[in-house]
């Protein structure tokens, strides 16, 4: 495998192998000395065309724990501002002997375009509304850690599904491992024909939460309100916010998850976010382990396998 671009094109077997490697990496994270040499003498670059704090930091920490030579390219400081094309930037990274490029871009398909045209491996750190595979992998790993298996679990993904790459990657990844995924949003925040994936669809959050083993709340960007997709944040919170009352319908040991950063009082209420069954911080830790696993697998494998 040269690249990790999305879970739509990744089969269940490969997902399982990434998860198994993640478990090994997590052991390293739990050690006193968080260090491996898996990436020593490898060069990793983060190339972010969109702002990000946690994903970028998570990848960078993962690469550093593994001894990689790390460079960070953000758009504001790079030649992109001077009009350089994406592929020219990629070829420059190739010429700098980069082994892995971790890329975030606001246009869907940009990592696929880059991967096709450069030698380095490309990890998709989020592209437009398309995919955010490492986020879904860390979500799946977190669920597996707690529930052992995804098969037969009921997962509710609630929020701005239309604009969410996290939702799409989770639909592909979780359904491939046998989970029953329901997505929930008002029609203005649901992409058309999403029901043609294996996900079920409802506009009623109470129904989505009914009997759920896992509830994933998605971030609602306030620009959505300005664009008229929802009338107000308070109506949104009332209808789709994750609160204690709504969670009474879920399974007793329901896991609460959120990809972050959270808008408390919008898509998730503070008491729920801080409750004992909230895994939001665990997700962040597992994110480092997942990214270590992906970096390891991409740099280890023979090209073209």
């Amino acid at each position: 495998m040269k690249d990790l671009l999305g879970l739509r094109e990744t089969d269940a077997e490969r997902i399982q192998s990434i998860l198994a490697t993640t478990a090994e990496m997590k052991k390293i994270l739990n050690q006193n000395v968080k260090k491996t040499n898996h990436l020593s003498n490898k060069s990793v670059a983060t190339l972010f065309y969109e702002n990000s704090t946690r994903t970028r930091t998570s990848f960078e920490i993962a690469a550093r724990f593994m001894g990689a030579v790390l460079s960070s390219i953000s758009v504001a400081q790079s030649s992109v501002q001077k009009g350089e094309t994406l592929i020219d930037t990629g070829k420059t990274l190739d010429a700098l002997c980069t082994d892995v490029v971790i890329m975030r871009h606001n246009v869907s398909g940009a990592p696929h375009f880059l991967a096709k045209n450069i030698k380095a491996s490309v990890i998709n750190g989020g592209d437009g509304m398309n995919e955010h595979p490492t986020q879904a992998l860390l979500d799946i790993f977190t669920i597996k850690e707690e529930k052992k298996e995804l098969k037969g679990l009921k997962v509710a993904i609630i929020g701005d599904v239309k604009h969410s790459r996290v939702a799409r990657s989770n639909i592909w990844g979780m359904t491939k491992l046998g989970a029953n995924v329901t997505v929930c949003a008002p029609h203005t925040l649901l992409p058309q024909y999403i029901e043609m994936t294996k996900a079920r669809v409802t506009t009623n959050a109470d129904k989505a939460v009914d009997g759920a083993d896992v509830v994933v709340a998605l971030r609602l960007q306030s620009e959505r309100m300005k664009a008229g997709l929802i009338p107000s944040l308070s109506e949104y919170n009332e209808l789709y916010g994750i609160n204690e009352k709504r969670l009474l319908r879920a399974e007793k040991n329901v896991m609460i998850m959120h990809p972050g950063p959270m808008n408390r009082g919008v898509e998730i209420n503070g008491d729920v976010a801080d409750a004992h069954n909230s895994f939001i911080e665990r997700q962040v830790t597992n994110g480092v382990a997942v990214r270590m696993a992906v970096l390891f697998l991409l740099t280890r494998s023979e090209r073209g396998d």
Partner: protein
């Protein structure tokens, strides 16, 4: 002078295909077979002879965007594609909204000496959608029709005034139908494939709502209107109904709307990006139905050549458009005739007779230009964009196996293209 015989071809007529000869003298077709010595004989044994194809929708990019295409390269691509006449859209720089640009294009086309070029003027000054152009002057300079193609005339009142004034000037309006507000910032067809690719969708309603508006205006004002590049099932249905009600509406579709669907976007290949976007398989089939039952009058290419710099970028940033002149016949032959949707006389109407009639460039019954497109309907090959003579190599059909090749293009009794790849 110049005498030519096209010998033993299957000559495609309005309702039949008849084997025979065509006699040409001084660029015109002779009605009666005469006994004369020809200077030139085309052996069309086994080939089909169509009336010269007329493409009423191309972008030649000149003046202003010569790095994408110019009149010389565009007309070369036209004759290679079998087109003896093309109508070029006015979204040049400067916009073709005044007689001097029309004259410039005509002179360049004359010098290129490939096919006939009929310029299309703008409906509104600068294609800004605010003030109508000098339609009489444009027509007098040689504009064959008017269009703001590339952009819709968003303001309904301006469109109403344009229809009334164009009716006074007796010049055809060709409408690019797209409600920009509904289309929003979409880049592909709104549907399942857009959803799973995470690309922003353009609702079909963006096209259909504007078609509905212009049909209603056309009906209310008793004004003629031609709808450009229709792509959806709903558009076909709207025009079908309008025609049934006697509205003076005609329309065209493009080869990519009956040859491809939006599953191609999953590759993120920017050569699949076109406006209107590639639609669903149901739309593709509905377009073919519209062609079969005569709702769709014309197949035009919307030839939109682009430089690789405008396409070799992220999907959202890529320019819209497909370089279509050199693949049109093969796609029509493969996806319309060989698939048994229509026969060759019907294809002749779609690609020659009807556009001429709609544009009023048929000529008289006695004086017929000797424009012919001679094709091998059976030859199979793979489309190779590298071999395009158009500057625009942007096609989603690169590598596709198709059937049907243009062998000769005859314009005014002269061979302007001959296929040497035997």
């Amino acid at each position: 002078m110049n005498r030519m015989i096209i010998k033993n071809g299957f000559v495609v007529k309005d309702d039949a295909v008849i084997k025979g000869n065509i006699y040409i003298k001084d660029g015109m077709v002779l009605r009666e077979a005469e006994d004369f010595d020809a200077d030139e004989v085309i052996d069309a044994e086994g080939l089909y002879v169509f009336d010269g194809f007329v493409d009423m929708h191309v972008h030649l990019r000149e003046p202003g965007f010569e790095y994408k295409e110019d009149i010389l390269s565009g007309t070369k691509a036209a004759v290679k594609g079998g087109f003896t006449s093309v109508c070029c859209m006015p979204n040049t720089n400067p916009v073709c909204d005044n007689p001097s640009v029309i004259t410039y294009i005509k002179e360049k086309a004359m010098a290129a000496d490939n096919c006939r070029v009929y310029p299309i003027g703008a409906i509104t000054k600068g294609q800004k959608g605010a003030e109508i152009t000098e339609m009489f002057k444009l027509k007098r300079a040689g504009a064959v029709a008017l269009s703001d193609d590339g952009l819709p005339v968003l303001n309904g009142n301006i469109m109403r005034l344009a229809m009334e004034y164009a009716k006074t000037a007796d010049i055809l309006l060709i409408c690019h139908e797209e409600d920009k507000e509904i289309a929003a910032d979409g880049v592909v067809n709104e549907g399942y494939n857009a959803t799973i690719a995470g690309l922003r969708g353009i609702s079909r309603v963006a096209e259909e709502a504007m078609i509905a508006r212009d049909i209603l205006l056309s009906s209310a004002l008793d004004a003629r209107v031609h709808i450009a590049h229709i792509s959806t099932k709903g558009s076909v249905e709207l025009i079908r109904q309008a025609k049934r009600l006697g509205v003076k509406v005609t329309c065209e579709t493009c080869p990519h709307y009956f040859s491809a669907n939006d599953s191609l976007i999953l590759s993120f290949d920017t050569n699949t990006k076109v406006n209107p976007p590639l639609r669903t398989e149901a739309d593709r089939l509905a377009i073919i139905d519209g062609i079969k039952d005569g709702t769709i009058d014309v197949v035009a290419t919307d030839h939109a050549p682009h430089h690789t710099n405008d396409k070799f970028v992220e999907y959202n940033y890529a320019a819209n458009g497909i370089s279509g002149l050199e693949t049109a016949f093969a796609l029509a032959n493969t996806y319309l005739v060989k698939s048994r949707a229509i026969d060759y006389p019907r294809l002749n109407r779609l690609m020659s007779v009807n556009p001429k009639k709609i544009l009023g460039i048929s000529g008289g019954e006695k004086e017929r230009y000797a424009d012919f497109t001679i094709v091998d309907t059976e030859k199979k090959y793979r489309i190779d964009a590298k071999k395009f003579v158009s500057k625009g190599k942007n096609t989603p059909f690169n590598g596709l196996e198709v059937q049907g090749s243009v062998e000769y293009t005859v314009v005014g009794g002269k061979i302007k293209y001959k296929n040497d790849n035997k």
